[in-house]
């Protein structure tokens, strides 16, 4: 009893301990007791589900058994991914909204498990087992509590109408039967049509549920606008260059568009190949339902506007971090810019801006790269692909030369460093930018170190020239380009006063600022200390041996995947799950035999009270998500590092091990077994050990034992 009371106090205490967003923001964390999905044996759950299914008369038992296996693993994967928030402020709030919606249906309420998913995508999902996931991106975009309520109603109806399981069965049937005499396109259209019907049904049934509440019915219709404009930032705020300007630093207007593009209305787009009806249709359908219904005394907020806005601000703050994780710096910068208008003294927001400025500088210098493995596959989007106010920022990023961007970034970040001298990261970015300037040796002698008259003439000259660049005739363009060449010589003038006050008053800045002849070799020292390793690499093996003594590692969710083309789909799940359990035992046994200390961080191996481990797993997982957002993974700088230091201190090691086996068997009997064991230094952003081997063989126990033992032995005997 006391235990439950304490748990209640803990959970409610968390709910009431609001963050002071005017000053700072602490990334969202799970809290309280972990739900059953963390502790239950999934194979038993599947077994129970199938037993229950067998009791029913059903013609699609075989398909549904596969569905139950796949879905249970899918839900487990999502919940344990480190991206699902449990008992945090946003999830607690969402559950309160569900309480409001289902206040007259407690049975249904008890069947639901509503969680927040740390994803910037504007979306929500529900599963047949009552799991509803609402993305942070969606909450950040919602305009009112009522809109959130309607979206929840929509998802709840997907559950009550069993859309997920029926959709799975019917889609499989379409696939099985559909290809006879039809081309793939027809099958796709048929599947989309089916999906759209279910979505429309959820819209209508969701509305019926929604109208039983006291929420403003019009907000149901407006919620589709949120989805319609999900590609735009959560607010549209004019991007002003003055944000980065200081007394002695005025950015030329030429880097900015005179006017930004309008927002395209594609609400009535062709939805033939979409899983959802277009928003125009959905809005019409809901508008018809609203019709002449009495909407008086209905409200936008039941729980309160203040609370909603606070929760939304939390989501927006978190969104900045999620953009950083995806290395989507322009989006993160714009989001932080919006938040900076509302919370000008929020340290977290300023830090996000600093990170973005710094990252864009590194991108300009070619240190940060994107490739086909990146979320931003083609790098930063062109401003011409962006609509409305954010277009200004993308134009600015695209037009300002890298060296000038570096100066602007340093101007912002160094002053932030002055304000928050104990913030190591900001200090490191500032030092790194100074070194970048030193490395290029660019403009160093141009900077004014003693104050003199303002450089209005120079700025005006540049503005007048840049203003003409927008003209489109060929000859004008050529003439302007010629003038631009002259400007490039002169344009060093507009920023040469930027640091004058720092030169005059800040001894640290003066001491760190590079001299004209001090060409630094390292460009990003003090921030990302990636060192090249001697790598032994062949077609079937890759090895980096540990150079430093490693005595303890954090074992991050040992992985096992077994794929057998000759066996049913569900085999992959159950067999992989069983093998993973054995593999974890093997890994720990091998480490133990060699007296090598490991701490396993695996959301699949926690007790209900170990929410901290889930949070720590999430922090490290975020770190890896950012690191792996490119093919050249070893060199990616990491910006989501704020909480890493705490994890390192807590577990007493900066080394994180990822270890796993992937086994594949084709229908023709071709066998491949892939073994990998990597160790990353999450403090210095470095890979310190890497062993990757491919075998044309089955995943026999002796193979696994030998390789895992070898890995730990090599670590144990590293110098």
């Amino acid at each position: 009893m006391i235990k439950y009371f304490l748990l209640f106090v803990l959970v409610t205490g968390t709910c009431f301990a609001q963050q002071n967003l005017k000053e700072n923001f602490v990334p969202l964390k799970s809290s309280g007791a972990l739900p059953d999905v963390f502790t239950q044996n999934i194979r038993n759950v599947i077994k129970d589900d199938i037993t229950e299914l067998n009791k029913q008369k059903d013609n699609n038992k075989s398909l549904k058994k596969t569905y139950l296996t796949e879905t249970n693993y899918e839900i487990e994967k999502i919940v344990k991914s480190g991206n699902t928030l449990i008992n945090d402020e946003i999830t607690t709030y969402l559950n309160k909204v569900v309480d409001v919606v289902l206040k007259n249906n407690q049975t249904l309420r008890n069947e639901l498990h509503v969680y927040t998913l740390k994803s910037p995508v504007v979306n929500a999902y529900s599963y047949d087992k009552g799991y509803v996931f609402i993305n942070v991106g969606l909450i950040a975009q919602a305009e009112t509590e009522a809109q959130l309520a309607y979206i929840l109603c929509h998802e709840i109806c997907h559950y009550t109408k069993k859309h997920h399981i029926n959709g799975y069965v019917d889609t499989k049937k379409i696939e099985r039967n559909g290809y006879d005499g039809k081309n793939k396109n027809d099958v796709l259209i048929e599947k989309c049509q089916y999906s759209k019907e279910k979505e429309s049904e959820a819209d209508i049934e969701g509305f019926k549920l929604f109208e039983q509440t006291n929420y403003n019915l019009k907000q149901a219709e407006k919620s589709f606008d949120v989805l319609q404009y999900a590609h735009l930032p959560f607010e549209l705020v004019e991007f002003k260059k003055s944000f980065f300007e200081t007394e002695n630093y005025v950015i030329p207007k030429g880097y900015f568009l005179k006017e930004v593009s309008s927002i395209r209305n594609n609400s009535n787009e062709d939805d033939t190949k979409h899983t959802h009806p277009n928003t125009a249709k959905r809005k019409v359908s809901i508008a018809e339902l609203i019709g002449n219904r009495d909407n008086s005394n209905k409200v936008d907020y039941v729980l309160g506007k203040e609370q909603f806005e606070y929760i939304r601000d939390l989501a927006r703050m978190e969104l900045c971090r999620l953009y950083l994780k995806r290395r989507d710096y322009p989006n993160a910068l714009y989001a932080a810019y919006i938040l900076a208008n509302k919370f000008p003294e929020n340290q977290y927001v300023k830090e996000v801006i600093a990170k973005c400025l710094y990252a864009i500088s590194l991108h300009g210098k070619g240190i940060i790269k994107y490739d086909y493995d990146s979320y931003l596959e083609n790098g930063f989007p062109s401003y011409s692909d962006i609509e409305s106010y954010p277009q200004q920022l993308y134009h600015f990023i695209g037009k300002m030369p890298t060296n000038e961007w570096t100066i602007m970034s340093l101007n912002y970040i160094y002053r932030l460093h002055q304000k928050y001298p104990s913030n190591k990261q900001i200090g490191a970015y500032s030092d790194s930018l100074l070194k970048l300037i030193g490395n290029t040796n660019w403009g160093i002698t141009d900077f004014v170190r003693v104050k003199k008259k303002p450089l209005l003439r120079d700025t005006l000259l540049l503005d007048s020239i840049n203003a003409k660049i927008e003209t489109k005739s060929k000859t004008d363009l050529i003439a302007n380009l010629q003038k631009e060449n002259t400007v490039k010589i002169e344009d060093t003038v507009y920023y040469k006063d930027v640091f004058v006050d720092l030169f005059m008053n800040d001894t640290e800045f003066v001491s760190k600022f590079p001299s004209a002849n001090s060409l630094n070799a390292q460009t990003n020292a003090g921030f990302s200390t990636y060192r090249s390793r001697s790598t032994s690499k062949s077609k079937n093996e890759e090895l980096i041996k540990a150079q430093a003594k490693i005595e303890k590692v954090l074992l991050l969710e040992p992985f096992y995947l077994k794929v057998d083309d000759s066996k049913p789909e569900e085999f992959q799940y159950t067999e992989s799950d069983e093998r993973q359990e054995q593999f974890i035992t093997t890994v720990n046994d091998c480490a133990k035999k060699l007296n090598f200390e490991t701490v396993t961080l695996d959301p699949g191996l926690v007790t209900a009270s170990e929410v901290d481990k889930v949070n720590d797993f999430s922090v490290i997982n975020d770190w890896f998500a950012e690191k792996f957002d490119a093919n050249d993974k070893d060199k990616n700088p990491i910006f989501n590092t704020n909480e890493i230091d705490n994890v390192i201190a807590k577990y007493g090691t900066q080394y994180v091990m990822k270890i796993g086996i992937v086994n594949y068997r084709s229908k023709t009997g071709i066998k491949r077994t892939y073994y990998y064991g990597f160790i990353y230094d999450i403090k210095d952003n470095d890979i310190v050990y890497k062993r990757y081997v491919v075998y044309r063989d089955k995943d026999s126990k002796d193979l696994i034992n030998a390789k895992v033992y070898q890995t730990f032995h090599e670590l144990k005997h590293s110098k």
């Binding site: 062949s538 026999s700 002796d702 034992n705 030998a706 005997h717």
Partner: protein, 272 residues
């Protein structure tokens, strides 16, 4: 003296690399039994049978195989190297397929230049060998190549009532000839020693972290190189076979045949 040398070499080689040895889950030392077999190709079989038929001086085309039994000890000296020692034993016969130079038996009229019967051969081969495991494997698990010097010791025995030469003895006083048997092959027990170089390729698997199953093949280099002589029936060195050196000459050919190429299957136990 020889045995002492092998033991000393074994200890020294292992001591050098001892600190690097991981073994399988820490177990480095194993003992095992191995069975080697070779198809009788070039008059290698005791009964002079051959798997390909009519080879060399074969009399029968029946398939036939040699069999060797082995005891071995192996030590994982590093993650790539195993240092091993084995003793292989085989017991066979030589059925006197070769002919000797009949003119060398004076005073007798030789009825057949091939001795009757057979002689027994007991061989013991000591090998100090090393297994080197492939890049992706960890000793003692995985694919490997092996090599090492071998010492072949052979003891032959014959029974004169079985192995002999039928001849006519001419009695000058009576002017008649009588049948008789001769056994001018030297001592009934003879020992021979030879050296060779063993090379092999194999694969070992480990079950229950304890049982090693090892399979592959090996060859003895000098035996392989001398195959041409054995096939054509030419003797190495070219000196003719006489009854006095009959066993010495033929047993070497026999040993080469046994050791030339062998498939093997070994089972071992990882001790510690």
């Amino acid at each position: 003296m020889r045995t002492r040398f092998f033991i000393l070499a074994f200890i020294v080689l292992n001591t050098i690399v001892f600190s690097q040895a991981p073994g399988h889950l820490g177990k480095r030392f194993s003992i095992g039994y191995g069975f080697h077999t070779s198809p009788s190709v070039f008059n290698a079989n005791g009964k002079n049978q051959t798997i390909i038929g009519r080879g060399g001086s074969a009399e029968s085309g029946s398939p036939a195989f040699n069999a060797i039994h082995e005891l071995n000890i192996e030590f994982a000296a590093s993650s790539k190297w195993l240092t091993c020692f084995s003793a292989r034993y085989y017991k066979t016969v030589y059925d006197n397929a070769e002919s000797f130079n009949s003119s060398q038996v004076s005073g007798y009229s030789i009825q057949s230049s091939r001795p009757e019967g057979y002689y027994d051969v007991r061989g013991l081969t000591y090998t100090l060998y090393f297994k080197y495991f492939g890049k992706r494997y960890v000793a003692p698990w995985g694919r490997y190549v092996m090599f090492g010097p071998t010492v072949n010791t052979v003891k032959t025995t014959y029974d004169p009532s079985e192995m002999n030469i039928r001849a006519y003895k001419y009695n000058s006083s009576t002017g008649t000839s009588s049948d008789t048997t001769l056994a001018p092959f030297g001592a009934k027990e003879q020992d021979f020693v030879g050296v060779n170089l063993m090379l092999g390729i194999g694969r070992s698997r480990i079950y229950s972290n304890r049982i090693i199953l090892d399979y592959g093949f090996n060859i003895h280099m000098f035996s392989v190189l001398s195959s041409l002589f054995d096939v054509t029936g030419n003797r190495i060195g070219g000196s003719p076979i006489t009854p006095a050196n009959y066993i010495e000459s033929t047993v070497k050919q026999r040993i080469r045949g046994v050791n030339r190429f062998n498939l093997f299957l070994k089972i071992g136990v990882l001790l510690f």
